[in-house]
């Protein structure tokens, strides 16, 4: 036997993809390091409340309770048995060749790796609505996390706006938990939804579950709406102003808004790891390029919603595939992946159906009034973006330098796609031609003190 040390494999993210990748690597006799921002493994969709909370998995995860519990139990067992190293509450803030800079409670440490599996997930894809910088406006994901991980509603009277599976799901979950949901406003029209319906037949049970959730929302749910503005007073949100599909004006009093148009892949680390990106027109966003197993080249593998927005079931499969690819590349015997690849193709057909059924509201963004805030971090307006295009041209990074859109502390996560739409409209080119904001380390704010060493 040679004395070569075993390969060091680091997985970033302990959601469904990261957990499945870890399980497969442990099964092959390896000891992966799993770095995750959460205190407990599970990711966002299967996020767990802190210790001492009492609701059951059925109450927390509904129809997905068995899957969530299985993942949690598997991961906890491997961590307890010492078969993987779990760096909880830790953020990878930079990638430099074989080194990851990891910010945890004790400061920044460097973790080396031979192979890197990124399972960084996604966050809400949001589109600006005038007034959205105000206190009381949250992402749909935030409303769900507050309910699941803290047992709270973010306000006393909530209006949900946007489009996509999360809109219906969060609405139904809030209603069930006893929150006051005043309205659920979907910007996708009936016609759009009917057109996409046949594709959703790729996963009939999931589609039916979605319809059942919508039934629970009853008269609160409106389709084909036009969102005019979020009205505010000195404290924050006071009402949602909108028009229904028939053009009638509505003013719905509320103190809280949840917004989101499906998901945006979290790709900063893939960018820093040197992955190639392509503009995916189905998802209206830039996504890292991989082969069907998740290989991105240079020993980097991507899995889950951070590379393809397939949801939790797809992420579990993608996590297994990425780990299998990693094992095969290292010369380990890798399990057969044919069944997983077939299932992933079916899930992808369904996901593409969702993408066209609940589209990104490009026209709404392009029509934003000049004084509407696009960047919440620094209150850069649509007018600022348009002016900088007229002055300096329509390339995303140049517009960022001139107008500061995308330069705030969220690093463009919540404004980039809207800014691209505005730039494209102003120059008359496609969003793909506008280009992509380059990722910059640190991908999370890090206090200077975290880099200091004692002694």
């Amino acid at each position: 036997m040679s004395e070569t040390p075993p390969p060091r494999i680091v997985i970033v993210g302990a959601g469904p993809a990261g957990i499945r990748a870890a399980v497969m690597l442990v099964g092959a006799g390896l000891h992966p390091v799993v770095i995750d921002e959460g205190q407990r493994a599970g990711g966002q969709i299967y996020r767990r409340p802190p210790a001492g909370f009492a609701r059951t998995p059925d109450q927390l995860y509904g129809s997905e309770a068995a899957k969530a519990s299985a993942l949690h139990a598997l991961f906890d067992q491997l961590a307890e048995e010492g078969r993987l190293t779990h760096c909880a509450g830790s953020s990878v803030i930079a990638v430099q060749e074989d080194r990851l800079h990891v910010l945890g409670e004790g400061g920044v440490q460097v973790i080396f790796h031979d192979r890197l599996i990124l399972a960084t997930g996604a966050s809400d894809r949001v589109a600006p609505v005038p007034g959205w910088q105000s206190a009381g406006v949250y992402s749909l994901g935030a409303a769900q996390i507050a309910l699941k991980a803290q047992g709270v509603a973010l306000g006393q009277r909530i209006v949900l706006i946007g489009s996509g599976p999360l809109l219906t799901l969060v609405g139904a979950q809030l209603v069930k938990a006893g929150a006051d949901v005043a309205a659920v406003l979907d910007t996708s029209s009936w016609r759009q939804q009917m057109r996409g319906l046949w594709r959703l037949a790729a996963r009939p049970l999931v589609a039916l579950r979605g319809l059942a959730l919508r039934v629970r929302l009853g008269g609160r749910y409106h389709t084909g709406v036009t969102l005019e503005r979020i009205e505010t007073d000195g404290n924050g949100v006071s009402a949602m102003r909108w028009r229904d599909a028939g053009g009638r004006q509505h003013l719905t009093p509320c103190d809280t808004i949840g917004m989101g148009w499906h998901l945006r892949a979290e790709t900063h680390l893939a960018d820093l790891a040197g992955c190639t990106f392509i503009y995916d027109e189905r998802w209206w966003q830039w996504l890292p390029k991989t082969d069907q197993m998740g290989r991105a080249g240079n020993g980097t593998y991507l899995a889950g919603d951070g590379v393809r927005l397939l949801g939790a079931d797809g992420a579990e499969i993608a996590g297994r595939l990425a780990a299998a690819a990693c094992l095969a590349d290292l010369g380990f015997p890798a399990p057969s992946t044919a069944a997983d690849l077939r299932e992933l193709a079916r899930i992808e057909r369904f996901a593409c159906g969702l993408a066209s059924t609940f589209p990104w509201p490009a026209a709404m963004v392009r029509a934003l009034p000049g004084d509407a805030v696009v960047c919440r971090c620094e209150n850069v307006t649509a007018g600022d973006v348009r002016e900088s295009v007229d002055f300096g041209g329509g390339e995303a990074n140049r517009v960022k330098s001139l107008s500061r859109v995308g330069m705030g502390r969220c690093q463009g996560r919540y404004c980039q796609l809207a800014a691209v739409e505005l730039i494209a409209a102003q120059t008359g080119c496609t969003p793909a031609a506008v280009g992509r904001l380059r990722g910059q380390a640190p991908v999370r704010p890090a206090p200077v003190g975290a880099f200091l060493r004692d002694g």
Binding site: G52, Q133, G136, A177, G178, G234, G236, C377
Partner: protein
Amino acid sequence: MITAGRIVRLAEFDRAEVHFYLDGQMWSALAGDTVLTAMLASGNALRKSEFGAEPRAGFCLMGACQDCWVWQDEGPRLRACSTLLSEGMRLRTMPSESWL
């Protein structure tokens, strides 16, 4: 349960009480609350925007948007959505004037 602030507690009431200070006033919250939950159960906002007149109260709750960084009396800031509240924390919605 209607709270003094923006947030409404819907479940998980059976937890120990934890005390903290918000702008110098003592409040109680529950063990397992994040700083964001505790502050918004007691008040209306986390901080003032540096770039506009409006108060801010967080946005994504998953550590991505960085809207919820709040000040502490001791100086260091913390991200309210991803930090659990601990007994005796001294939180502020604005930096102390003596720092400026």
